[in-house]
Symmetry: C2
Subunit: 258 residues, 2 copies
Amino acid sequence: MEVKNQEDQYLSSVRNALRILKSFSMDEPEKKVSDISTSLGLNKSTVSRTMATLASEGFVYKDPESKKYRLGLSLLSLSSIVNSNTDVYHESYPVLSRLVENLGETAHISVIDKLEVIYLQKVECNHPVRFLTHVGRRNPPHCTSSGKVLLAYADEGLVNAVLEQGLEKYTKNTITDPDKLLANLKEIKKNGYSTSFEELNEGVNSIAAPVYDYRGKVIAALSVVGPKQRIQSHKVQGFAKKIIAAAKEVSERMGYRG
Amino acid sequence: MEVKNQEDQYLSSVRNALRILKSFSMDEPEKKVSDISTSLGLNKSTVSRTMATLASEGFVYKDPESKKYRLGLSLLSLSSIVNSNTDVYHESYPVLSRLVENLGETAHISVIDKLEVIYLQKVECNHPVRFLTHVGRRNPPHCTSSGKVLLAYADEGLVNAVLEQGLEKYTKNTITDPDKLLANLKEIKKNGYSTSFEELNEGVNSIAAPVYDYRGKVIAALSVVGPKQRIQSHKVQGFAKKIIAAAKEVSERMGYRG
DNA sequence: CGCTCGTGTTGCTCTATACGCAACAACCAC
DNA sequence: GTGGTTGTTGCGTATAGAGCAACACGAGCG
């Protein structure tokens, strides 16, 4: 009868607070108590008291104008510490900068976290036409070039977990068939780079290559993103070559001796 | 007997979790359960369960190598949202870059939060000799140029709160006498800029000017920091002129019509 | 100007829950 | 092997936090 669940261990009020924090996004940077209450299915008073606690520690604050809550400055300090931990963050920056100058397109470094691809570092291009991405953004792994290259070199368990989660369709090009995805991953491993032609967003293409650490393990992906008008299929070879070279350089900075 | 305290309202387990998060720093980016337990005076089991909850939501993770906890990637996403909220963050960047190029020293934008100065934005200089600061770092207001310029234009309540908190001595130059600090603030307001000559760290000088918003209210400080060998007292006039000009430019980008 | 509606906060009660204790398990050093 | 850390887990109990409802507050409108 009683299912001993892992989740039974978790402190519910803490989990509520963390989920409230995570419910903020670029699209919804400010929220009322009742917004949160309905969207997370929590009682008004629970939310109210949780917000008061979060505010007392500076994790949120009440905007005096709109009287809504926004994320607070305590989070800023913490994220700098997160970055200072990850070596890739520092080592990749100069390499990305040069690549962006060379290709004229925005470049990212990303890793996989909880079945999602998350951007650690970004260097933007100067083109007026750009895409709104940001450090910390999360994307699905099965339809982004960075996600697929990470999956290609990941162990089976992770790939299975992604497949079990289901391959959501975003565009007509999104790969939703598990077998086709597996075939694609195989090919990616053979080529040493991955592509996404409008698999997540219409009109957006990207190319990615793996970054290795000192043990030869793939720990991140270096990707370049741009509109399909600028990243055309006949240019892929040339782009990929430079992206692979840049990824190799980051790898070497991470101690990789390939 | 019973003192009705504001703090009685706060959810204690949530507050524990938030304090645990905030206990991480650049100096101590990874911690064991018992470290946290002793430093925050919480029971081992309490910490253990709180950490499990934090980990389940991606706010921390256990490093497989060291078996210690580190801050997690969930915080990255959130801090990007914090930045996207603050206009100063975006508007100041190009101005800071030019100033850094011109002066050859690191520049910051900072605001005051909970009686501390916090860096929102930073552009580093190329000098090999630099100081380890980072976005999100917190410093005391009474012995930094940014802090003092913010206090100079702040309302009386804030200044009193800082004075009540006590003026801790960091170096022989730190102003610890309330009257002297008030006199200094008055002078800063007259000059339109503030200085700190080794008031927080030995060998480190800084100069700051106020940034205004569209209502003419001081909302941030623009500061330049460097070693005393490079920021000498006879150069202050020249530096200050350029810093004030840069701060004015940021202000204008914020809608200030002075 | 008063009315109502939507919203956030606060007493109060009761139960779920998070804490503390202690035992256990896992690991390291020696 | 042993002794010393350290992290996790059961368990019972005190209590803290969720839910309800009442209230306070302000905005919008007739």
